[in-house]
């Protein structure tokens, strides 16, 4: 029997997802044995025409990482969708938008102004900005169009499964690949990890007081965290209750709170709004002024509650710009 | 006699808008403020309860032209004891602010304002004072602080202080009191 054909592809990503595939170490050889990788820009030769020449749905599965930022990425994603039986959004950026998705607090113009004009070390008296077409004496130089908004993969194409994480842990990748190879797949649209929130498996969950109530929101830099104690019990924002588990509590083990790279659990559409509502609900103060003060001490709900999920949230981006 | 025909229904709402004016409506007239007030103890013409009551009734002329409005020493004894948690001294202050805005600024305050504008402080620092300070081993101080003038000019304070009452004053007694005070 022919080995299933597999593609790995990247859009707007940092390369961390590719590194994590390399981190499979010896396991990668097992994968290579079991499948026929037809497309993997980071490691193998490939031509777009090759993919275009394939029959539709001839690829068993495409793993696509990175968010969608340009029309080129969009087209490539669409092509792979057409040629693949399954598409797996690989990693936080394609799943949720990822940290680069925070760019949705600004538009193209603001980003250009900042990068090419406002930054301290930039010297740009003539106000030169990169353009899609630049005429030079020898001809034309073209650049792709830069979108105003970062999109997740499933806002661009139909996605069958999601492998969460920034970056996905190697054991989850192996599990997913195994499940695909053995055909033991969960319902379409599933995130390939557990359905419950991180607290379920968090080693600190037991230390939580039965009645979780906070009077003050503290910043991780302000306190010396007791490694035996739940962050929320200490008043430190930790997205563990709102984040899917399965990551192995990597950040928690490094004494740092969760920031939600695995995204929300399955019933939740807008992770930031959901966590915001949860956090606000355990503020145990019966004084409106005091409540206002505590709420304001969050300072940056976007950066904290939507660190990885802004493009996948309900509003997706800053409005009116 | 308090003739409510002369009452200005807007008066209390205008007062509330002023800084410190909050709480006016909470007063239920228990008189703890008046009983606590050291000024009231020595000069019964000053009575915070009465001022608040008249304000609530809308007797704008009576209140604003009253010289006793300016007697409050800001000791905050009333604030400390008010059962309704009204910042009484601040409330009186709010009425004063409104009085100035309406053209009832006592001369003494105009003088103070002048001094502040000119010197940036209430007392002129003369060479003598500086020498004295030097002798005592104290650092010299600025004679004038011109920025105060800028600030004063920037705000409406001078305009208000020098304005005349917008409402003709009908209360003869009070105006004579005012004249008396101005002479003093």
């Amino acid at each position: 029997m022919a080995k299933p054909l597999v593609a790995f592809y990247w859009c707007a990503s940092c390369g961390g997802c590719e590194e994590t595939v390399v981190d499979l170490a010896e396991d990668i050889l097992k994968v290579v044995d079991a499948v026929d990788i037809r497309l993997w820009p980071v490691a193998l030769d490939f031509k777009r025409a090759d993919v275009e020449a394939m029959a539709d749905k001839s690829l068993a599965v495409s793993f696509i990482n990175g968010a969608i930022r340009t029309s080129e990425q969009e087209e490539m994603a669409k092509l792979l969708r057409k040629k693949s039986e399954l598409v797996v959004a690989f990693g936080a950026c394609s799943h949720l938008g990822g940290i680069p998705g925070l760019a949705n607090v600004a538009n193209k113009k603001e980003i250009f102004e900042t990068a090419y004009k406002m930054t301290r070390s930039t010297v740009n008296p003539k106000g030169v900005f990169p353009k899609t077409v630049t005429e030079i004496p020898q001809g034309k130089l073209t650049l792709p169009e830069f979108y105003d908004t970062v999109k997740t993969l499933d806002q661009t194409i139909d996605v069958d499964y999601y492998l969460p994480g920034c970056a996905p842990p190697p054991d989850l990748i192996m599990q997913a690949v195994t499940a695909i190879l053995e055909g033991k797949l969960p319902p379409k649209g599933s995130v390939l990890t557990v359905d419950k929130a991180l607290c379920e498996t968090c080693p600190l969950n037991k230390s939580k007081p039965d009645k979780l109530a906070i009077k003050e929101i503290k910043r991780i830099s302000e306190v010396i965290h007791d490694p035996e104690k739940c962050f929320l019990a200490e008043g430190i924002i930790c997205l563990g209750p709102a984040t899917r588990g399965g990551c192995g509590e990597r950040c928690i083990n490094a004494n740092m709170p969760c920031r939600g790279c695995f995204g929300p659990t399955k019933e939740v559409k807008d992770m930031g709004a959901k966590f915001l509502s949860s956090l606000a609900s355990i503020i145990d103060v019966d004084d409106e002024k005091e409540i206002e003060k505590i709420a304001e001490s969050v300072f940056d709900p976007i950066g904290l509650f939507y660190m990885y999920t802004l493009p996948s949230s309900i509003l997706r981006r800053k409005q009116g710009v | 006699m308090i003739d409510l025909k002369n009452a200005d229904p807007h008066f209390k709402w205008e007062t509330i808008k002023k800084e410190g004016g909050k709480g006016l409506l909470k007063c239920f007239g228990c008189s703890d403020c008046a009983a606590s007030c050291p000024v009231r103890y020595f000069d019964e013409r000053y009575n915070p309860r009465k001022i608040i009551r008249l304000t609530l009734l809308g007797m704008k002329n009576e209140v604003l032209s009253s010289p006793f409005l300016w007697f409050c020493a800001h000791c905050h004894a009333c604030t400390e004891r008010c059962p309704q948690g009204i910042m009484v001294a601040d409330l009186i202050n709010a009425i004063k602010n409104y009085a100035v805005e309406q053209g009832y600024c006592p001369e003494a305050y105009k003088l103070q304002l002048d001094l502040l504008k000119r010197l940036g402080r209430l007392y002129e620092v003369e060479d003598f004072d500086l020498k004295k300070r030097q002798r005592l081993g104290l650092p010299p101080t600025d004679k004038t602080i011109p920025e105060v003038a800028k600030i004063v000019e920037y705000t409406n304070i001078i305009k208000y202080a020098n304005s005349k009452p917008q409402v003709p004053n009908t209360n003869q007694d009070d105006s004579s009191c005012q004249e008396k005070m101005e002479k003093e």
Binding site: D210, T265, S281 | -
Partner: protein, 619 residues
């Protein structure tokens, strides 16, 4: 051998002696012993048609006799059986635990477990002959009143008691006692199971030393009403000039923001006490207002006739001058400053609830009484189901009000137990264990302590759950959901309802939603683009819903809730406020005007406020 009390009733002993005889013989054969009931009367049945209540009383009396004999009861008459069992059903399980203290209360409606600690009284049987007092060698000064270590306590039951703190156990009293005395101080504990609990605990004095300007504890001669009463009654104090200051602590935002209601009469009572004994004593009552409602006006008039001076004003301070107490106030009738020199100043203090008992039940009152002023008409929803208050546990009240309130509590219990099963009036929260990660956010947020961990799983106590929906919006996974209030359903509702330029009003069903009804009654009109969705509580509004409405083009979102401290779910509106504040911060960063979302407190009859707000939002 089994022993029963034999209840004969009216007919049997007179008209059916043979029946009684055969019954006694059969019983003997069956190895049953009958004890005759002394003083047993008619069962009450004949009176049932005349006055059911009286008939019940007769029946109850008979049952009481049997229970005093500590025996179950057998009747020979079917009417008696019906009557007595009917009465017993109604007075079943009345059990007194006197001289007892509730240690803790657990459970929920239908199954409360109350741990009671009882201290023995020392005197077991007593005919109040008083001989023990005469022989007791220990004299005790009980706050000014002299008594012995064994003494008569004028409470139920009508018996003497031993004060174990001072008793030397000399045994003199036992020698003269015709009843029964035990000198050992026994402390026993027991657990009572109950379906409902009525708290009739009374109240506590406000600590008047907190009102520093009146110098309690600091100045000799300044005392509370109870101290004054005892000192005068015991004859220790014969004052010449007394000032009674009213509203000490009450009606004061720094102390008790409410009027304690009964202290006006208490003050009058003290005035009468002194005037009755020493008519020449000058008595001044200084009060902001005299609140002598109803028949108490007679009392007030009476005291004025007795020559008590009433001064309107609130004293600013009490101080000492030349060894005398001086009360400084303004006399509001003359507008003059007034100083009264007196030898005694009585502070008529306000009252606070019996917090320790409420604490045992996990009911947080925040220093207030469990009456919700704003919604008194809707009943007391701050208390868990099956817990009722009566009398001064509800709010300071006089005897008359206490009786009314006690009856109300009794009927509340009856109406609760009328049914075999308690039907929940409101939907309950339910857990989807496939989604629940036991993160405990719901436990922290529930105002009723209805959520807890049982065997490492989150469980909702259905009796405690009041159906507010706070938890379902709090849950970061939507694992806990309110029946019939599905956030996903609301999601779809908003999606189809909201068009560009609309205003979405999410209104609490208790207050703001009623205000819209009121708006209709009052013929107010408000803009058509205001789309209203009813929610159980302002705290059942999900920030995600707001986001969705904004995405759909809403130009404003109004969340309407009850006023602070008037929330029907105790703290729901504070939760809503916290969420609104954070949401505003968030929306600001997402490019919205912060005021696009407004959380407003709209009372159930404030139609004008609702209309005003939506009109402003529509501009």
């Amino acid at each position: 051998m089994k022993k029963y009390a034999l209840f004969l009733g009216c007919t049997v002993p007179v008209r059916a002696q043979h029946y009684e005889l055969s019954a006694r013989n059969v019983a003997k054969e069956l190895n049953i012993e009958f004890a005759d009931m002394k003083d047993a009367s008619c069962c009450g049945f004949p009176l049932k048609a005349v006055d059911a209540e009286t008939s019940l009383l007769l029946a109850a009396r008979n049952i009481g006799i049997a229970s005093k004999m500590n025996l179950d009861l057998i009747t020979l008459c079917n009417s008696c059986t019906a009557m007595l069992s009917d009465a017993q059903k109604q007075m079943k399980n009345i059990e007194y635990s006197l001289n007892s203290e509730v240690k803790d209360i657990k459970g929920q409606v239908g199954n409360y477990k109350i741990n009671v600690q009882t201290r023995s009284r020392g005197v077991i049987e007593c005919n109040n002959c008083g001989k023990c007092i005469n022989v007791c060698p220990v004299e005790v000064d009980d706050e000014g009143k002299k008594r012995k270590a064994i003494y008569y306590v004028p409470t139920y039951p009508d018996m003497h008691a031993i004060d174990y703190d001072t008793c030397t156990k000399c045994g003199e009293c036992i020698k003269v006692c015709q009843g029964k005395i035990e000198l050992d101080h026994k402390i026993t504990e027991k657990e009572i199971s109950a379906g409902a609990v009525v708290l009739a605990t009374g109240l506590n004095w406000y600590d008047v030393s907190k009102v520093e300007e009146y110098g309690y504890h600091r100045l000799d001669g300044v005392m509370t009403t109870i101290e004054f009463e005892r000192a005068v009654a015991s004859g220790q104090l014969k004052p010449n000039k007394v000032v009674i200051i009213y509203c000490v602590g009450s009606r004061d935002s720094k102390h008790l923001p409410y009027c304690s209601k009964i202290c006006c009469f208490l003050g009058l009572k003290e005035a009468k006490l002194i005037k009755d004994r020493f008519p020449d004593t000058q008595v001044y009552i200084v009060a902001m207002d005299m609140r002598s409602y109803g028949t108490f006006e007679y009392f007030y008039n009476k005291l004025r006739e007795l020559g008590v001076s009433f001064i309107k004003g609130k004293p600013s301070e009490v101080f000492k001058r030349n060894g005398n107490l001086v009360v400084r106030t303004e006399d509001l009738y003359t507008n003059e400053l007034l100083e009264i020199e007196a030898d005694t100043v009585v502070l008529s203090s306000g009252f606070v609830p019996d917090n320790p008992t409420f604490d045992k039940l996990g009911i947080k009152l925040n220093g207030d009484f469990p009456v919700l002023f704003e919604n008194a008409g809707l009943g007391n929803t701050a208390l868990p189901r099956g817990i009722f208050t009566a009398g001064s546990a509800t709010f300071p009240s006089g005897v008359r009000d206490t009786l009314i309130d006690a009856r109300k509590a009794a009927f509340s219990v009856l109406s609760l137990f009328k049914h075999d099963k308690i039907e929940t009036k409101q939907p309950n929260a339910q857990i989807n264990e496939d989604l629940c990660s036991v993160c405990r956010m719901c436990i922290g947020t529930c105002p009723y302590n209805a959520v807890s961990i049982v065997d490492d799983k989150i469980k909702v106590n259905e009796e405690l759950c009041m159906g507010c929906g706070i938890c379902s919006i709090t849950c970061p996974s939507y694992a806990i959901q309110l029946e019939g209030f599905n956030p996903r359903g609301l999601f779809n509702q908003i999606r189809t309802l909201i068009k560009k330029g609309d205003i979405l009003a999410l209104l609490c069903r208790w207050s703001a939603y009623n205000a819209t009804d009121k708006a209709a009654y009052d013929k107010y009109s408000y803009p058509e683009n205001v789309k209203i969705i009813r929610v159980p509580c302002s705290s059942a509004v999900d920030p995600s819903h707001v986001m969705l409405a904004l995405l759909s083009g809403a130009k404003g979102i109004l969340i309407g809730g009850c006023y602070p401290d008037a929330c029907h779910y105790a703290k729901g509106n504070f939760r809503a406020r916290a969420r609104e504040q954070m949401l505003k911060l968030n929306l600001d960063l997402l490019g919205f005007n912060k005021n696009i979302v407004r959380l407003e407190w709209i009372g159930k009859d404030e139609a004008n406020k609702f209309v005003e707000i939506v009109e402003k939002m529509n501009k």
